[in-house]
Amino acid sequence: MTIRLTIKNLANGTSLRMEAEPDETVNDLIVSAGEYWNLDAGAYVLKKGKKLLSGKTKVPDAGLLNDDVLEMIPDPEGGCRWGSHHKF
């Protein structure tokens, strides 16, 4: 069953609606959101409330429900954020 989520980009305050299938993982959500926003390459994480979501976890196992709002955060790695010519 498709789950409809809102993902908020904490780097710029914008949001997008995303539909996720049960066989998709948190990794898939992060990559899709990054591609939609055309984010600079680098590491990003996704959180729900005060919980960091594990990349490998499937959407249902992550406890995600319809209308959940997730927040995407650039994960500073001091040396791994590339220039703007390298995209997500």
Binding site: A43, K50, K51, D75, G78
Partner: protein, 256 residues
């Protein structure tokens, strides 16, 4: 009845710090600390460690000093540019801040350092691969690891204690992709990006790293961040998020 000298409280370098109830100054004095990286975070971290009373510090870095380091590295001067190695200069200059501090500089990669025997490690590194390596090694030896990172006005601190989620537990495909893009299959760096970096964010992240170190060394890990704190200097915002151990993470196989 006790007898004290007038002004005795100002004759102890650490008197004011001892007034923080959970601080164990003797434990801080006797601990053996590893600092991986002597760049922006490493400068600030070593400064804070020395002022806080840590006496045995090893600092590792393979790089020399360039002019663009000087906006955020308190121990480097113009005369060091292209002449000094970061770890050696940090050790030399930080030693001036407190008597009887022993700072051992190692010019080399953190991956090549034997970390067994250290009480705690602080990551002040500039790439995911080195972080993951130190993360795995500290997990293997059960050494607490305080990882700091910055990117412009953003920063984070991750406190990794035995039995708690490590860097690999919270990594995802974007971390792997970044590692793959940055490094060749031989492990050599293929491209070194130039990051935005400022002294204010650096100072805040380094301060948090050393404060968490003081808690752990003082025997109060329960006061530590659980598990990652993110800082946004543009908004002056800070929040902490919890994470779970990834049951497939190889770094936790030895724990029970």
């Amino acid at each position: 009845m006790d007898t004290v000298s007038a002004g005795f409280e100002d004759k102890d370098r650490y008197d004011r710090q001892r007034r923080i109830t959970w601080v164990d100054q003797d434990a801080i004095r006797s601990s053996n600390v590893l600092v991986a990286g002597a760049g922006a975070l490493g400068n600030e971290v070593v400064k804070n460690l020395v002022l806080a009373g840590f006496k045995r510090i090893t600092v590792v870095d393979m790089d020399d000093i360039v002019l663009s380091n000087l906006n955020r590295c308190m121990f480097f001067t113009d005369s060091d540019v292209k002449k000094g190695m970061k770890s050696e200069i940090v050790a030399e200059r930080a030693s001036l801040l407190a008597p009887d501090v022993e700072i051992v500089p190692i010019v080399g990669r953190i991956q090549d350092v034997d970390i067994e025997g250290f009480d705690i490690a602080l990551g002040c590194l500039d790439n995911i691969l080195a972080r993951m390596d130190l993360n795995a090694t500290t997990c293997y030896y059960g050494i607490p690891y305080i990882d700091g990172a910055t990117d412009g006005m953003r920063g984070k601190v991750h406190v990794i204690l035995p039995g708690r989620p490590c860097l690999q537990c919270v990594s995802n495909r974007t971390h792997v992709k970044t590692m793959e893009t940055r490094h060749t299959c031989t492990g050599n760096s293929s491209f070194t990006p130039h990051l935005a970096s400022d002294v204010t964010t650096t100072a805040i992240v380094a301060a948090m790293q050393v404060r968490e170190t003081m808690k752990i060394i003082s025997g109060h890990p329960e006061l530590c961040i659980t598990n990652v704190t993110y800082y946004d200097g543009t908004l002056c915002d800070m929040f902490t998020v919890e994470a779970d151990i990834d049951p497939t993470c190889p770094n936790h196989g030895r724990e029970s």
